[in-house]
Symmetry: C2
Subunit: 377 residues, 2 copies
């Protein structure tokens, strides 16, 4: 990590677009207590900030997402390639795009696997993180980068929660806000599914209360278990049925003795794959922290009411979008959010059968809506 | 357990209705291999078998249910009190009702916590159990009790799967079949949710591969984790939201340090309660076995097709019922089952906002339908 540049400038040379940089944004008192003497944020940018500073777009990543939104000059694909890039909906030839790895995560920003001033990983000592902590720190980075106004702040899922919270915290900095497949307040069911996931990680004998970094093994099984459940909620029942039904994995027999190697159904193999993939790229403590941040998500906190919080968006052009088949962030939540805005606006739909993940796979369906309402000028 | 009478007779004396008895039904070769030299089934009955043997009703319990369907002469409530009892929809003044604890369970029938011939709990050595194993053994008990024809076989959820499988296996024995909140074949999503649950149990460090009976601790945390997830799927999103929203548990603060005692949201406290309640009354190995039995549920297995399997019900009067808000056994599955029956019949609905568990809480909504179609004669 020491090889990553920490110089921050929106004037990028060729070969620097979509490459990780890191910036120290100072000490932070977390919303619910806890203190870090120095927080670093890892981020990526694409395009060039114009002289007037009017073309900046902040893209917020979801729970296990990261700042690598678009390929840029990197050799790896971005998670929103095709939606963000040269000529895309968010056109990096016209806009200067910033994406920041959320504090508490594991992709370069200060998180539980980071070392404290004594060289020891924070682990269980890392403070409780909220979406408000996330956006307050990101606003500091924006200031460092010389961005005083965002042409747009946009995100889906937890990224939508972050985008909405950013605009509510700093409405004077945000001209356009796009909230996709998200909500203003985590619901009972979202909290319930999240509890199961956090307990799965804590049940793993390798978790050691969060201080596993010096151990031989990591709580990959617990993290994988959390991911399995999360992934089911990211997809629709119909999508799973159409793809897998109850077919056995080729060469396997999903029935057998309790103590023997039971074979798998195809859908089980698919979940195994999702679990392993995540465990190989994500830190369990970060998953815990960011999941608990989502449980605590409530833009009304600190305001008299949800209406009072959203009334701060009077001057912000807000676009709310939902995935038709989403059963984690139900379209009803987007409708409720849209109806609660001072500038009541219709919900725009991504018409996809696959469920919540449609905000990733089918964001381009919003191309004309966003080019008309947000990215026309 | 030795104190429970093993004499089986449908002619009950006062004080014996709804009391557990047990009967040995012989050796069993399980559908997917594995053999037990002797299987015992625990069961309860209510009412009296008439001389012609035409008034017997078989009630099938769900995953963590048991044979105590109605209070009868016991001092504990039954899980379908009000639906089964004197004067109820299934009127025990008119009908002789039998309920059997499924093989592999933990309520008196032979299961993984039972002792083998050497006095050692089966644990991990217990065979893989299927719904077909369940009904084949239950048919043997029926024969012992002198029941050659069932006026009706009825169940909800896994009980519905068992009822349907019973009728497909032994159509000549079944005059009426009632399948509630269930399906003919487990779907990809049901298998996926089930995988997460079985892995939660296996992740518990106290599981010991299923051989934990001689250990100091049991895998209660893993079993509880499985139950949390299951319980969410048993309830609707709207029901959880209406009851709990995102309110904190009184006196608790759901935010805090990673290593400190984080308080809970009310919905978390509710799930904790469900988890503890189940861990106190159910065996983790049984939960695993019966969950895997449900994953394997497919009435088409052993037949040319689903249609061929259901064609065996030509002479059976089938009533299919669904809970309107069920998102574990979606109403579409009931519609598909009903449409695939040789005697196409409409799906009858329990109109309830609470989700799958409506088959338990609101079964009485089917009172007039069942009195007209099944229990009129």
């Amino acid at each position: 990590m020491a090889s990553i540049a920490t110089t921050a400038t929106p004037q990028l040379a060729e070969g620097q677009h979509g490459m990780m940089r890191r910036s120290a944004v100072g000490e932070h008192h977390f919303e619910f207590g806890g203190y870090l003497p120095e927080v670093e944020l890892a981020y990526e940018t694409w395009g060039t900030l114009d002289a007037a500073g009017t073309n900046a777009v902040l893209v917020m990543h979801a729970l296990t997402g990261d700042a690598h939104v678009a390929q840029g000059d990197a050799h790896t694909a971005g998670w929103w390639d095709g939606f963000v890039g040269p000529g895309a909906t968010i056109d990096t030839n016209k806009y200067f795009v910033l994406a920041v790895n959320m504090v508490g995560g594991c992709n370069g920003s200060t998180g539980p696997s980071s070392l404290d001033e004594h060289g020891v990983p924070y682990g269980s000592r890392f403070p409780f993180v909220t979406i408000k902590d996330s956006v307050r720190l990101e606003a500091r980075l924006a200031k460092q980068l010389g961005i005083s106004t965002w042409h747009a702040v946009i995100g889906g899922s937890m990224g939508g929660a972050r985008a909405l919270e950013y605009a509510v915290e700093f409405p004077e900095q945000v001209k356009n806000l796009v909230v996709m497949a998200s909500c203003a307040q985590a619901t009972a069911e979202q909290i319930a599914f999240a509890q199961v996931q956090t307990q799965a990680i804590r049940l793993d004998p390798h978790f050691h209360g969060g201080d596993y970094y010096t151990q031989d093994a990591r709580p990959d099984a617990g993290l994988g278990l959390a991911r399995r459940l999360a992934h089911i909620t990211y997809r629709s029942e119909a999508e799973l049925e159409t793809r897998f039904g109850r077919k056995p994995q080729p060469g396997e027999q999903p029935t057998g003795q309790l103590d023997g190697p039971r074979g798998r159904y195809q859908v089980e193999s698919y979940l195994d794959h999702q679990a392993t993939k995540l465990a190989n790229r994500f830190d369990a403590n970060s998953y815990l922290l960011l999941t608990e941040a989502l449980m605590s998500h409530d833009v009304a906190r600190g305001h008299e009411s949800l209406s009072a919080a959203l009334a701060r968006l009077q001057q912000v052009n807000v676009v709310v979008a939902a995935v038709s088949s989403d059963r984690l962030y139900f379209p009803e939540q987007s409708e409720k959010l849209a109806a609660s805005l001072p500038t009541k606006s219709p919900v725009h739909y991504i018409d996809s059968p696959i469920g919540h993940d449609g905000f990733l796979t089918d964001a381009s369906q919003l191309d004309s809506v966003l080019r008309t309402l947000v990215f026309s000028h």
